[in-house]
Every structure is written in C-alpha cells, then in structure tokens.
C-alpha cells in the first residue's frame, strides 16, 4: 500500500465534475483499492456519491491511499488531478 497527501486547490472544491474525474481515473484499476482519507473518514475513490457528500472545499487536505495492482500508477494519476486543480 502506498499513499500521498494532497490538497484541494481549485476554487470550487469537490463537486460533480471533479468527483467524476476521480471515479473515471480509478475505474481502469479494478483490482486496486483506492481510498480518500478525509476528516477521519475513508471514502472509496470509486464512489462519486460519497466523494461529493463529504463536502470537501478549497484548502481541504486529504490523503490518497492505493493498495493493489497498479497502485503507483493510479496514485500518481489521482494526485495529478488534485495538483492541477482538476484543470479548472
């Protein structure tokens, strides 16, 4: 298992489109468990509803954990989404 801290830098925080981008990024890695740790909760990165419902705003700090086949690749990809502010 590997992990990386990330911060939400885009102004709008987490919303439908950003959640969609995360879910789409992890989807090809079916045998890797990807979790977003935020506010004491573990949210599956495959679960758009819970990602949205966590109410993560700009400035929120969270940790991405990936465990399984392709973990390095998927972690880098999800981290890139956060680091680039989801292209916004």
């Amino acid at each position: 298992m590997i992990s990386a801290p990330v911060k939400i830098i885009n102004k709008q925080g987490m919303h439908m489109n950003t959640a969609k981008m995360i879910v789409q990024a992890v989807k090809p890695f079916a045998s890797c468990k990807v979790v977003l740790k935020y506010g004491g909760k573990e949210i599956s990165a495959k679960n758009a509803v819970f990602i949205m419902a966590a109410g993560m705003k700009q400035g929120a700090e969270l940790e991405i954990q990936a465990d399984g086949e392709g973990e390095a690749e998927v972690l880098a990809e999800v981290k890139r989404l956060f680091d680039t502010g989801f292209g916004e």
Binding site: K11, H15, N17, K20, A48, V49
Partner: protein
C-alpha cells in the same frame, strides 16, 4: 387573449403542438418478484448508460463540453455503489423497479442536501433528473419526438430548454409560447436568433391551451389568442403576410456585402452569446461577430469552464466564422451578472461597482484562464480579436496587456500552439472612455461602442427604473455627441470603430453613424439584413446633410422626431 413577455418579434399562426413531459406515475406497477425487478433495473441502467454515452459524445463533438460533462457526471452517479445498494435494498423489501429507482435517487439526493456546500446541495436536482430518465425507460414512456412537430405548428411548452430549442425543425414552427422564461433566458435568445416569433412567461398556459387548437401569436406585442374568432384570425393572417413579405424582401441582402449608396464598404456583424448562435448568425448573413458575450459560458453551472473547454468553444466559433472576424469580449461578470460560485460580495450599487475589467485585474486567475484559452484557440487563425469591457482609462488596457504578455511567455515556454498576435481592443461604454477616447485609441487595436451602458451612464438613468426610463434614449444629443467624438478619435488614430449596442439596430440612427464614419454595426442576428438594407439606402453626402441638421438640435424629442420623419419620408 393571453399576455406574456414579447421575447421575439413576428406574427405566427398555427396549431398548438403541446409538449409535455411524459407522466411518470408508477403507483400501479405490480412488482413481479425480486429477481425480475432486479433484472428490470439492470436493463434500465444499461439502456440509460448506452444513451448517455452517445449523447455525451455528440454534445462534446458539437462544442457543448459543459453539457457533455454533465451527462457523464450523471453516468458516474448512476453507476455508484451506494445508489445501487439503496435500489437493491428497496427491491428486496418488495418494491417495484420503479419505486426502487425513486427511493435510491431520493436517498442520494437527501445525502447531498445535508452537505454544507451550495454546489453539492444543488446536485439533488440532478438525482431527480436521473430518476426521471430511469422511470421513463422502465415505464416505456417517451417524451414526444421533437422532430415530429408537424408543419404549421405553434410550439407550446412549460419551459423551453436549449436542448428542445435546438431539436426543433425551424421551418415547421410558426411561433413558440411558454409558461416560463424571461427576455434574457437562453431560450429567448435562441428564438430571436432563429427568427421565430415567441411569447414567454404566461403562467397557467398549459391549463388553457389544448393540442391542436389554433393559436395566433404576436411576438412583438407579447400576445397570444387561443382559438381566435374569424375577424381576429384574419387580422393576424394579414399582419403575418406583411411580416413575411418584409422578411422576404430583406433576403436579397443576404449574400451581399454591406455597402452604402456610394459603394463604400461597411460591415454588419452579429452579437452572439454561445457557439450555437454563431451558426444561426451566419445563416442570417452576418459579416462576422462583433460581440461574442462570454458570460454564458460561466453562468448556470457549478464551477468555471476549464481552459480546454473555453479554448474548444472559441476555436469552434472561430472556425464557424471562417475568414470573418470574431470579437471575443472577455468576461463581463459582476454588476448585474452574478455567478454564484465566484462568491462576489453583494454591492449597494452594482452598476458602479466591482465588475468586468475591474474584477479581472483585481482577481486575475479566472481572467488568465480565459486569455490563455483565447490565445490557444486563435493558433493559426487570423480572425480572432479580444475586446475588454468597461474600460475607464489607459491603465486598464496596459494592465490587461501586461497580463497577456506574461501569459504568452508562459505559453511559449510550454511549447503550446497559440497566436501571439491577437488584436486587443476595447469597448467604449463609459463617459470616461469617451473623454479619453484619443488616449485610449493610441493603445487599443479597435473600438466598439457599447451604447446600452454608454447611454445609461451618460444620462445617469437606469432604464429598468420606470420613473426615469423616459430619459434613456440613444437619440439624446449628449449620447450622439459622445458617439461622434469616439468615432472621430478612432479615425484620427487610424483604428477601426464599431458599435455593438442596441442603437446599432435602429434604422433612424443609421445616417448619423454613417456620417460620423462608423465602420461596423454589430446587431442581433435577426436584425442583420434590415441594418444592411438601411445602410444601403444612404450616400455619405446625404447622411452628412441629415447629421448636420440632427446634431444642431438640442433635445431627444426634436432629434427623434426629425430622424423618424426623414426615415418615414424615404420609405
């Protein structure tokens, strides 16, 4: 007679085609057992995803990236495990697939409603949209097919969505009548651009109008007569004939270039607010886009459009215009055009406040994204220009230029394809810009006079305030002198000067603007041909004679009476 908002002028008579969303009552559906209902749900989901994928793809290919993203967002939500579990749970409790779909979507909507973020709370509505589509599939009900609207129809509906508007066969629709929608709603803009008479905002409309009834619609008066008696019908048909004849008479100007009577070339361009309108404007014979309002790209959504999304939209508009110019006005946000996700403060005086270039210079992040998108969209294309709104002094032009130069250096070091030579012009719409026109002309690549704001600021009169709107007139001598002065300053500096406010579409003012030396009229797509015709009717010497007289008058009333008299006399 029904009264509504006069959204798009013209007369339309036809049979009501009443478009209602299909009924989604599932209370009588008998569950056929757990296994059968789960299979029905799975089938509906698969069908939903298949349709959505095709729809998202076609939306994105047509340049509607935001709508495409939304559809993809719905797909991701539908595939969510939590939603699946909730639906499954309901089936196991003995519910039908329909009831389970409704329960699952409601559970997710409830989760969203509890989030301390307005953007997420608003997504509850998306869950209900997803529910309704699932129900339609499960119940086997389809919304009516828009392409099946027969010839000679008046399209009647609750709320005309842009999706409906673009799906309508224009030749078959005589008029559009709706329950909701305002003058500046996207659907109103589309109706105007399509040249279809439209009346919107008639509460209770669907309770009054039955499918197949004859409706007579006056889009300029905002009037709809249901099942008109013979004499009323004849009156409408007579006026419709005249309206059509005058429209047809204008068609000879469609493939002509704009010239005054002496053969001097001028330009009639169009004002647009979306990429879709660019095509409509071109069909109306415009010689370019003199004003692409970009605010629409930023409104009615939960986050700003990305650089790539904007670049794709600007690129598409530029390609639609081919060799014709495309003037992109950078975002005129703030003031009365509020965008919730920017969280801009409420101001006591929004029209004199933090808006447009002021906001862009003070908080440039969004502005930078827009400028980068424009530079990239213009790569290899020579028709794109940038226009800054609400300028009051040269330092604002320099400020924008400073930001632009920095962005070009970034783009160059990234090795991105972009156009470093996009002309930077300004809108002249404040009295300060009029007074400083010479100083501004030395720094701007072109001027475009925004007569709506210029009139309001020059006369210190809000045209929405019915107590003072009598003051608001483009014929006011102070406004006309301002226009004259701005055009003269542009001419002295050798830069092109256009006009993109409503005054540009007034035939009575054409001789004055011609005499001043205006190069370009930018008007609503529906007014392109009438404006071209009006310009063709004047030689510069005739126009100068009229202008000399008009400019010697000192009240709005005198100027208006004189110019309207001149136009009426010439027929």
């Amino acid at each position: 007679m029904l009264k509504g908002l006069a959204v798009s002028p013209g007369i339309g008579v036809g049979k009501a085609f009443v478009y209602v969303e299909a009924g989604l009552d599932y209370s009588r559906v008998e569950p056929q057992g757990e296994e059968a209902e789960l299979a029905r749900l799975a089938g509906a989901k698969a069908s939903f995803l298949r349709d959505s994928e095709a729809l998202a793809k076609s939306l994105k290919e047509a340049g509607n990236v935001r709508e495409g993203d939304m559809i993809e967002g719905h797909m991701v939500l539908l595939e969510d495990d939590f939603l699946a579990e909730e639906m499954e749970k309901a089936v196991k409790e003995g519910k039908s697939a329909e009831a389970a779909a409704a329960a699952g979507c409601a559970a997710v909507a409830e989760l969203f409603r509890q989030v301390d973020d307005e953007m997420i709370r608003a997504r509850a509505a998306d869950m209900f949209a997803i529910r309704d589509r699932l129900l339609k599939i499960l119940l086997g009900v389809e919304s009516q097919d828009l392409s099946a609207v027969p010839e000679g129809s008046v399209f009647v509906t609750g709320d005309l969505t842009p999706y409906m508007a673009t799906g309508l066969k224009r030749g078959n629709v005589e008029a559009i009548v709706t329950e909701t929608g305002g003058m500046t709603s996207h659907s109103a803009i589309l109706a105007r651009a399509m040249g279809i008479p439209a009346v919107m905002g008639i509460p209770g409309l669907l309770g009054v109008v039955k499918a197949g009834q004859t409706l007579a619609v006056d889009g300029a008066a905002g009037e709809v007569v249901v099942f008109p008696p013979r004499e009323v019908l004849d009156d409408y048909l007579g006026r419709q004939k005249k309206w059509r004849e005058s429209k047809a008479a204008l068609l000879v100007y469609k493939d002509r270039r704009t010239k005054d009577k002496d053969g001097g070339e001028r330009l009639v361009c169009a004002n647009i607010a979306s990429v879709g309108e660019a095509e409509l404007a071109l069909e109306q014979g415009c010689e370019g886009v003199g004003l692409f309002r970009t605010e629409m790209l930023f409104m009615d959504r939960e986050s700003p459009p990305s650089e790539d999304e904007q670049a794709a939209a600007y690129r598409k508009a530029s390609e639609i215009m081919a060799w014709r110019e495309l003037i992109i006005r950078t975002m005129d946000i703030g003031g009365d055009k509020q965008v919730p996700y920017l969280h801009l403060p409420q101001e006591p005086n929004p029209f004199l406040g933090y808006r447009a270039v002021r906001f862009c210079l003070a908080e440039p992040e969004l502005f930078k994204v827009q400028l980068r998108a424009i530079f990239r969209a213009a790569a290899g294309r020579g028709n794109v220009k940038i226009m800054i709104p609400f300028v009051t002094g040269p330092e604002e032009i320099e400020g924008v230029r400073g930001i632009a130069e920095g962005l070009k250096r970034d783009l160059a070091s990234e090795g991105a394809a972009f156009n470093p030579d996009v002309p930077l012009g300004i809108m002249v719409e404040t009295p300060a810009a009029v007074q400083l026109a010479d100083a501004l002309a030395a720094r701007a690549a072109f001027f475009s006079i925004g007569t709506n704001d210029l009139t309001q600021y020059t006369l210190a009169a809000d045209r929405m305030n019915t107590r003072v709107d009598y003051l608001y007139s483009h014929y006011h001598p102070a406004v006309l002198r301002s226009v004259e002065r701005v055009v003269a300053a542009a001419k002295a500096a050798g830069i092109p000067v256009g006009m993109c406010g409503e005054a540009a579409g007034s035939p009575g003012l054409v001789p004055l603007y011609l005499a001043f030396g205006l190069d370009e009229w930018s008007v609503n797509p529906g007014s392109v041909l009438a404006t071209r015709k009006a310009i063709a009717g004047w030689s510069v010497s005739e126009a100068r004679e009229v202008a000399a007289r008009a400019m010697a008058l000192s009240t709005t009333k005198e100027v208006k009476a004189y110019l309207e008299g001149v136009v009426a006399q010439r027929g």
